[in-house]
């Protein structure tokens, strides 16, 4: 039997087993008093007394970095679910350390639009919001401040439903550019491209976890995690794929230097060509492009994927807990 899991639209329909598995993951059974309730009765979707604060990285040199955060703040503002929706940034106004001065709702949910748990989500943002004092190794994710309850939610990138966001991106690109025809997933190797860095294992883990989840669904012929700064490298995709069609999804929030310029270069476009295309306002990668006998589709970063707004809501629901 299938029935709607949630109103967010990420999972249109799920089996009972999937629903229970999902609930167990969100709330350990000991803390979840109402496993027998019908979905979504055990989740409060009334946030009219709450403010939502989306945190992005931002940039002091270009507007692109902030675009996805603003996009989802606009989208969620339009839905009218929250009393107030604010975006804030590490590098742009309103700054992380500034934003709560303008938030007055009794409940406040802070959701970082970041890919992985790490330096920014666990150290910098909590410190600048006053959740964590310098030197503290841990901090309470829900805190009382004056008459407000502040909830610090997990980053969107590590949420299990990001799998749907990645799959949506992969589906869309071949449907948008079906030349000569859109390949079936079963004839396609899907690559999830991440930054990767020796400084933070979580960066790699978030990508590998998503690759494993998608692989488990057996939709695509192959699923690989590849990286800019670690092995296996993005440029190795042609060698790693055993099928002709490749779809590569950059697991980045923002389209910027990495996704617009660096990755197309790693995929074989000469950097001067990439820069000339950028200068002329053209896409830096043409879908699909033939390389070494492989046909490669390359998507935009996931941050602008509309479903990400629903992942944000899922993070808020998790923090709000059962009603």
């Amino acid at each position: 039997m299938q029935r709607p899991l949630c109103a967010s639209g990420i999972f249109q329909f799920c089996t009972n087993h999937e629903i229970l598995e999902y609930l167990d993951q969100r709330w350990p059974s000991a803390n979840r008093p109402c496993r027998g309730h019908h979905w979504p009765c055990d989740v409060s979707d009334n946030f009219s007394d709450a403010a939502l604060v989306l945190i992005g990285h931002g940039s002091t040199v270009n507007a692109d970095s902030a675009t996805p955060t603003c996009q989802h703040a606009d989208a969620l503002r339009q839905r009218g679910l929250f009393a107030q929706v604010r975006e804030a940034f590490w590098k742009q106004e309103p700054y992380v350390w500034q934003v709560l001065r303008g938030v007055f709702a009794p409940r406040v949910f802070v959701v970082p639009l970041f890919i992985s748990d790490g330096y920014f989500t666990e150290e910098v943002i909590p410190r600048e919001l006053g959740f964590r004092r310098p030197g503290e190794t841990n901090f309470a994710r829900a805190q009382q401040r004056g008459g407000q309850t502040l909830h610090y939610c997990g980053p969107v990138g590590t949420h299990s439903s990001m799998t749907e966001v990645l799959l949506a991106r992969a589906r869309e690109i071949v449907q948008t550019f079906p030349f000569p025809r859109a390949p079936k997933p079963s004839d396609t190797a899907l690559f999830i491209a991440g930054h990767g860095t020796g400084n933070n294992e979580n960066s790699r883990q978030a990508i590998e976890q998503q690759a494993a989840l998608i692989r488990g669904r057996q939709l695509y012929a192959e699923v690989h995690a590849v990286f800019m700064e670690e092995d296996p490298r993005i440029g190795d995709c042609g060698r790693l794929a055993h099928v002709k069609n490749i779809v590569m999804v950059p697991f980045f929030i923002s389209d910027g230097l990495h996704s617009f310029e660096d990755i197309p270069v790693m995929l074989g476009v000469p950097r001067p060509v990439v820069r000339e295309r950028l200068r002329q306002g053209q896409p830096t990668w043409r879908n699909p492009t033939e390389r070494d006998g492989k046909r490669i589709w390359y998507t935009a970063a996931i941050g602008s994927e509309p479903h990400l707004s629903d992942v944000i809501l899922e993070r808020v629901r998790e923090a709000a807990g059962p009603c």
Binding site: T60, V61, R86, K91, E93, R101, G102
Partner: protein, 237 residues
């Protein structure tokens, strides 16, 4: 209505100039326009709606990205209408994010001001170096970075030996703590001080506002002048 907007509307009799924006009460709702367009005919101005105003405020004339919305280079030639206080709040948020809340917070009996030392002491990673600037150099960096040519916020925070901006200076928008540009600039200054590199003599076109690696960055040029003034003062002493 949030208390900051309630206070803002109480201060808005018929018109208030906030940063470079003139906000006027209309018979119904509000109108915003660049202060230099106060006497312009409405028909001669482009009407911007909602997020169009945010997009407009992201670029200076010539298309350069504006990393600081309080920079004195907001383009003129537009007007925007707000039907009610909620719409006005959002439009002001697009133009000057967080500024109304800061304006309100600055009126508290004990405004939440964070000094350069308090702010930099909690930084980690690549910004830890900003704690190493001596007061006089930090002061010169702040004078350069927060100069009225670059930012219209009235700086209420400071560092030892440097006065906060006087009441009535720059604009109504207060600055309650260092910003990301200041932090980045202080980091660059700290590195320059470590290397003690002489400033370039070559005249160059101004680099992007947020590109502190370029010697032709306007704030870096200004810092050169501030250091010269500091050296001259020390010579007299």
């Amino acid at each position: 209505m949030n208390p900051d907007m309630r206070a803002f509307l109480a201060a808005l009799d018929t018109e208030i100039v906030f940063g470079q924006v003139a906000v006027r009460r209309l018979e119904r709702g509000f109108e915003l326009r660049h202060e230099s367009d106060r006497s312009a005919a409405a028909d001669n101005l482009t009407t911007l709606k909602g997020t169009e105003l945010r997009t407009w405020s992201q670029q200076a004339a010539g298309g350069a990205f504006r990393p600081l919305k309080s920079a004195p280079n907001l383009r003129a030639g537009w007007r925007a209408l707000a039907a009610d206080s909620a719409a006005l709040e959002l439009l002001l948020h697009y133009l000057y994010p967080g500024a109304v809340a800061d304006w309100f917070a600055a009126q508290a009996a004990a405004p939440p001001i964070t000094s350069y030392r308090q702010f930099t002491a909690r930084q980690t990673g690549m910004y830890r170096i900003t704690t190493m600037l001596q007061d006089a150099i930090a002061g010169a960096a702040i004078r350069a970075c927060c100069h009225v040519d670059f930012c219209l916020k009235r700086r209420l925070w400071s560092v030892e030996g440097l006065e906060a901006d006087a009441a009535g200076a720059k604009s109504l928008i207060p600055c309650l703590e260092p910003c990301a540009l200041l932090l980045e600039f202080a980091r660059k200054v700290a590195r320059l001080e470590q290397n003690d590199a002489p400033p370039s003599e070559e005249p160059q076109a101004d680099a992007a506002e947020g590109d502190f690696d370029a010697p032709s960055n306007p704030r870096r040029k200004r810092f050169g002048l501030e250091k010269q003034a500091l050296a001259a003062k020390r010579a007299v002493e």
